[in-house]
């Protein structure tokens, strides 16, 4: 059954219903495969409330290089991070984005990335407002005797109110920068790999958010 006026299938026509069911099934088929490792909050309900005080709810969505931009975008992001390639299957990794709401109004995002640390993976998250300013910093996982020094509130506070502009001139390869990023102190000098890894993780997080979220919303930083 087709609408004669515009040639489009009429709502609830046979083709419309079949098309909708197939689309739904294809969408389910396209869910992220469990093989690729992404970075998710362990307890989203509790963590979101803690990382974004004042929020009343959140929605979880996924994005990946494979879905948007592919290899050229991946190379662009890697270039923005100093050219060092990612270690494992970066095209397939489904990044988890938590969109934060206060009532019906979106007030920000929480996003995390995995980063190579000295003795294992570092899982770090930032809460961002709609302009891309860091409102909270959280390390979910880090290995080593010095882990607590990095997970301390004092260390995390140094990242608050920073944004991509502050990290623009931070070189993730040499670990050198200027301004507020250069002023961030290492609480564990014996763990330089983890410290510079964390700075790279935050910059990577902000760059990914810029490419996948803020630029799509027309608010590139």
């Amino acid at each position: 059954m087709t609408s004669a006026a515009n040639g489009k299938p009429a709502p609830f026509s046979g083709r419309f219903v079949i098309g909708t069911v197939l689309l739904l099934l294809l969408h389910l088929e396209a869910l992220p495969a469990p093989a690729a490792v992404n970075c998710e909050l362990n307890y989203p309900s509790r963590d979101v409330a803690r990382l974004f005080p004042g929020s009343t709810g959140f929605k979880t969505s996924y994005f990946s290089f494979g879905q948007r931009g592919g290899a050229p975008l991946l190379r662009k992001v890697e270039a923005r991070l100093g050219g060092a390639p990612a270690l494992y299957a970066p095209l397939d990794v489904p990044y988890t984005l938590y969109e934060i709401y206060q009532g019906d109004k979106k007030i920000g995002y929480i996003h995390g990335v995995n980063q190579k640390g000295q003795f294992g993976v570092i899982e770090s998250f930032v809460s961002l407002d709609l302009k891309g300013t860091i409102k909270a910093f959280y390390i979910q996982r880090i290995a080593g005797q010095w882990a607590r020094k990095f997970t301390s509130p004092q260390f995390g506070r140094q990242f608050l109110e920073l944004g991509l502009k502050d990290f623009q001139r931070y070189d993730t390869v040499s670990g050198k920068g200027t301004g507020k990023v250069a002023a961030i102190g290492n609480p564990a000098p014996e763990a330089a790999t983890d410290f510079y890894g964390l700075l790279r993780a935050v910059k990577k997080n902000l760059v990914l958010m810029d490419e996948f979220v803020y630029s799509a919303e027309g608010g590139r930083q």
């Binding site: 046979g14 099934l25 093989a35 294992g120 290995a143 080593g144």
Partner: protein, 394 residues
């Protein structure tokens, strides 16, 4: 000359919506049936593959719950009971044993894993005997340990991916704060090895401050009497023997209930679809009484009318069956994901395995059951009395 199938096809097109809904019913039933049959076969194959990938047929461990032991083997859990390493030499001397390897499983509390901490498992194995048990393991990077007491680790692919490790990197054993150098990363195997961190046995014993082992893996000779070996091993003090055939039987028993339930649902779905077929074809017959009467007055025999109506059933069931099987093939990965979420234990690899033979079998079942359902409407149509039908509907 127009064929019987063409007439049946045109009859079905007269009521498109009704025909479509009946087709959808048959399609969904076929989808469920072929997916279930595919699961029945795929699960067993995947389980066999997982068990073969273990590399050994028998495991000896300290006495305890056999289900705990099965879980420990298949999911790499931590064993809490220990056996003496001297038992390895004792068992290795038996003629049925081809290869033997001691294993120590240890779990350490990692306060920085997740919120509130988590457990990190390590698998202590001998570089001299363990790789020989699993010659099929391939390395993505690096290789096995350089020595039996080396501060080194070999990581499964997913463990390395999760921890973002490459050969040459370090990992830290939590709780003990012992650093280990990653010397090898295995290729993805689709088994529990992917998430395992292997450490030289003596190194792990030193880290855990324990001189015992948790498990002995045994590979028997091809011509050996495994049953005799099992009986002999049971005579050893305070150990239990778990053979993988036992583990498989236990898991298959656990799965059997779920399989029966799903099979019942599939049968009910098929029955509902077939009631739909009967309803559709019967309605079609009742609506065409006058027409059938005219056909008879023109010389059509009851058998001709019967086969004409039966053709409609055949077209419905064959088309619905083919569409359902096609959907099952297209969405087999989705079915796989759903089954994995439901089952308490799912082996690696494809769980829903549909091939041409299975597809044809399902199609045959759907068509045969459909044709059986179509007998009554076809018989009723064949019995129509021409004059009565023309008069009653005139």
């Amino acid at each position: 000359m127009i064929s019987r199938f063409q007439i049946a096809y045109k009859n079905l097109l007269r009521k498109k919506a009704r025909t479509l809904l009946t087709l959808v019913g048959i399609m969904l039933s076929s989808w469920v049936l072929v997916s279930l049959l595919g699961f029945n076969r795929g699960y067993e194959q995947a389980l066999n593959r997982d068990i073969d990938n273990m590399g050994y047929q028998l495991m000896v461990m300290a006495k305890g719950c056999p289900y705990e032991a099965a879980t420990m083997m298949l999911q790499g859990g931590a064993g809490l009971r220990y056996i003496e390493p001297s038992m390895v030499a004792e068992i290795a001397g038996r003629e049925e044993v081809e290869k033997i390897t001691p294993i120590l499983m240890q779990a350490f509390f990692d306060p920085d894993k997740g919120d509130g901490g988590g457990i990190a498992g390590y698998y202590g194995v001998e570089a001299a005997s363990y790789p020989a048990m699993k010659p099929f393991l391939r390395f993505h990077q690096g290789g096995w340990f350089q020595g039996e007491e080396a501060g080194e680790a070999v990581m499964g692919y997913e463990a390395a991916e999760l921890e973002q490790r490459v050969v040459g990197d370090m990992i830290m054993v939590p709780e003990k704060n012992v650093p280990l150098k990653v010397v090898g990363i295995l290729e993805r195997t689709g088994t529990q090895d992917d998430g395992t961190i292997f450490v030289p046995l003596k190194t792990l014993q030193k880290i855990a401050a324990i001189d015992k082992i948790t498990t002995i893996g045994i590979k028997t000779r091809k011509d050996a009497d495994s049953q005799k070996l099992e009986t002999a091993l049971y005579q050893l003090p305070d150990v239990q023997v778990v053979s993988f055939s036992q583990v498989k039987q236990t898991i298959m028993k656990l799965i059997a209930t779920a399989r029966v339930m799903v099979l019942s649902i599939a049968i009910i779905a098929i029955l509902i679809a077939m009631v739909g077929v009967v309803n559709t074809v019967l309605m079609s017959v009742l609506e065409r009484m006058q027409e059938i009467g005219i056909l008879k007055t023109m010389g059509a025999m009851p058998g001709d009318i019967f086969f004409l109506v039966w053709c409609e059933t055949l077209i419905l069931c064959a088309s619905g069956g083919v569409a359902g099987i096609g959907l099952a093939l297209v969405f087999s990965r989705l079915s796989d994901l759903l089954v994995r979420r439901i089952l308490p234990y799912a082996p690696g690899g494809e769980l829903v395995d549909i091939d041409l033979k299975l597809a044809l079998l399902t199609l045959a079942v759907v068509v045969v059951v459909g044709l059986l359902s179509g007998i009554y409407p076809a018989w009723k149509a064949g019995r129509v009395r021409p004059l009565e039908s023309i008069r009653s509907e005139g």
